[in-house]
Amino acid sequence: MREALRQNRNVVIVGLIGLGIFALLPLFGLSGFAYRTLTSMFLLIVTAQGWNLIGGYTGYAAFGNVAFFGLGAYATGILMYRHGWSFLPTILVGGLVAAGYAALIGLPVLRLRGHYFAIATLGVAEATREIVAWWTPVTDGAAGISLPFLKPITLAQNFFYYLALGMVIFGAFLTWFIIRRKLGYSWIAIRADEDAAKMLGINTTVSKVIAYALTAFLVGIAGSVYAYYNSFIAPEEVFKIDRTLQAILAVVLGGAGTIAGPIAGGVLFQLVSTFLIFSKPFGIDLGQFHVTIMGIFIVLVIIFTPRGVIDLVTRSAREARRVHADQAGGRRSTWTFLKDGARATRLILAQNRQQFKI
């Protein structure tokens, strides 16, 4: 228990330092490219935090979350473009529309488990995209909707940056708030064993639908903000399945079913993908292979760190500390500690690789 607390404390400290850095960063001047990268990263983290509720905590592998992103985006798009609403209230509407939709489809779909649930949600997302593209009188169909620009540009950059950062904090707070309550316990119980959860008096249907609706709310508000931020939305763009998968990858990369997981995973994901596209290592332009690299990244993460990097780092550190404590006297230094840590990491990675082999 004490060990777990200490690790939690470390993660919280790292998180607060990170938050401070991101909050102060614009004061030191950011390029337009940096603004765009970081704002997109925050929005990705919010969609990841959303997926984490249904997929990470409740254990239902939802693959159609992009439907909520698209609905949020279209709620904002339609309200601003057709009805002249101001932006901020449309975020709430976008989140609520997505949550309502999730509750509606959740009632039948959440009765399914495993593969069936995954593909049913994927199917719902595809169908939603097609309906939005088809419903031209309301959505302008495949042509999409253009939204007004927020001006001047520096205001827009800072506005969206801090708005998206604020949403990340909101997502983390919401997760933290729920998982220490009865609802949170019911999700974790459902993930472990749904029949046992029912038998203890948990109305699993209600718990799952709430989880799904909250997931949709977070993903939906991210979509809303994206619509105004990007100032153009079209079905092919906002309902792209890649958005769901990036969110899932961010969660798995960081650690599913933890508060810090989606954040750490989202940051790492964005760092790696941005770096790979723009660094041109050895003079090779990797831009055209960026999806390939993303795929390789997914494959490596799945095989080597199925429990996420936070788990990998904390386990390595614990192991290194143990080895370190065993070594008597002289040899102790930061350098040997890091070396022990690296050895432990290698060992864990090798174990992970063999873990699910037949």
């Binding site: 997929g55 593969h115 199917g123 169908a127 097609e130 899932i248 795929g295 390789i296 494959v299 037949i358």
Partner: protein
């Protein structure tokens, strides 16, 4: 609706279902035997299409003769992928295999975009335009037509379906695959090497996907991204028909084609939405599919 329209629609349903059966067959076998939703499947179909395209365009081989080439090449690729990658996650939770196969799919598609470019490709043979007229009504100036190339594709598809059915039900390999799928621990006791069986199962599935790709290349234009749609179709077909037998896949493909053609007549923009709506209803109401429970007989 006129009689001719009904007749032509019925023919279209039949023609479509042949190709879709082959596209979904391998997917169904891997799912049933290995309990993996194989998202690489669509990428394998896409590669099959490009094998046919390249063999036809650069070597002048008749597209029908390229089918065995596609099948052999993809059989080999499937074997390698299972042995070297998928094998590491055979006992992992469902989300893991799902994401892993997705990662592989986007790698293959992205590389294909690099090598084959994103241009829309099509194959035009000497007999591409001609068709068999089943019935003609000169007064209305309309007729029921069966394009020869689609007819050929249907025949090949039915033949391959039959062969797969025989492979699974009559051969030693088929029996080993089926018993592995039903209970891998028990199958291990009988001396079957599980990892080899899995690799072969995956290879057969990829080979069938290659054939499906070749057939699709003959009947429609395509580009590297088209395979993903077929993965989703395959899923819907397997759910509609029921997991676990070759005839069930055919039934599922027939039902799926019927929905697609009918929705296409009414609202061409909503064919996928209709298919997925049906999928969800089917899953909730009758999860075992039209044909009910079976296991690859």
């Amino acid at each position: 609706m006129s009689g001719i329209l009904i007749g032509q629609s019925a023919i279209n349903v039949l023609l479509l279902s042949g190709v879709l059966t082959i596209a979904a067959l391998g997917f169904s076998i891997v799912w049933g035997v290995m309990n993996i939703i194989n998202l690489v499947h669509g990428a394998a179909i896409m590669l099959g299409a490009y094998v046919t395209f390249i063999a036809f365009t650069f070597a002048g081989i008749d597209p029908f003769l390229t089918i065995p080439i596609s099948m052999v090449l993809l059989f080999g690729l499937g074997y390698l992928i299972q042995r070297n990658i998928i094998n590491y996650v055979m006992r992992a939770p469902m989300l893991t295999t799902f994401l892993l196969t997705f990662g592989l799919e986007i790698i293959i598609i992205n590389l294909a975009q690099f090598f084959f470019k994103s241009d829309l490709r099509a194959i035009t043979t000497g007999y591409s335009g001609s068709s068999l007229t089943l019935y003609a009504d000169p007064a209305a100036n309309s007729s029921i037509e069966v394009p020869y190339i689609k007819l050929g594709a249907l025949i090949v598809a039915l033949l391959l379906t039959l062969l797969t059915h025989l492979l699974m039900s009559r051969t030693r390999l088929g029996r080993a695959i089926r018993s592995t799928g039903m209970d891998k621990d028990a199958a291990q006791l009988t001396g079957a090497r599980i990892s080899t069986i899995y690799a072969l199962t995956f290879a057969i599935s990829a080979g069938l996907a290659g054939a499906a790709g070749s057939l699709i290349a003959m009947t429609q234009s395509f580009q590297p991204g088209f395979g993903g749609t077929y993965t989703l179709y395959a899923f819907v077909i397997v759910v509609l028909g029921g997991l676990g037998s070759v005839p069930a896949v055919f039934l599922g493909a027939l039902a799926f084609s019927l929905i697609t053609v009918l929705t296409g007549l009414w609202q061409p923009g909503l064919t996928q939405a209709a298919a997925f709506a049906l999928l969800v209803i089917m899953l909730v109401v009758r999860p075992s599919g039209i044909a009910g429970k079976a296991f690859y007989q």
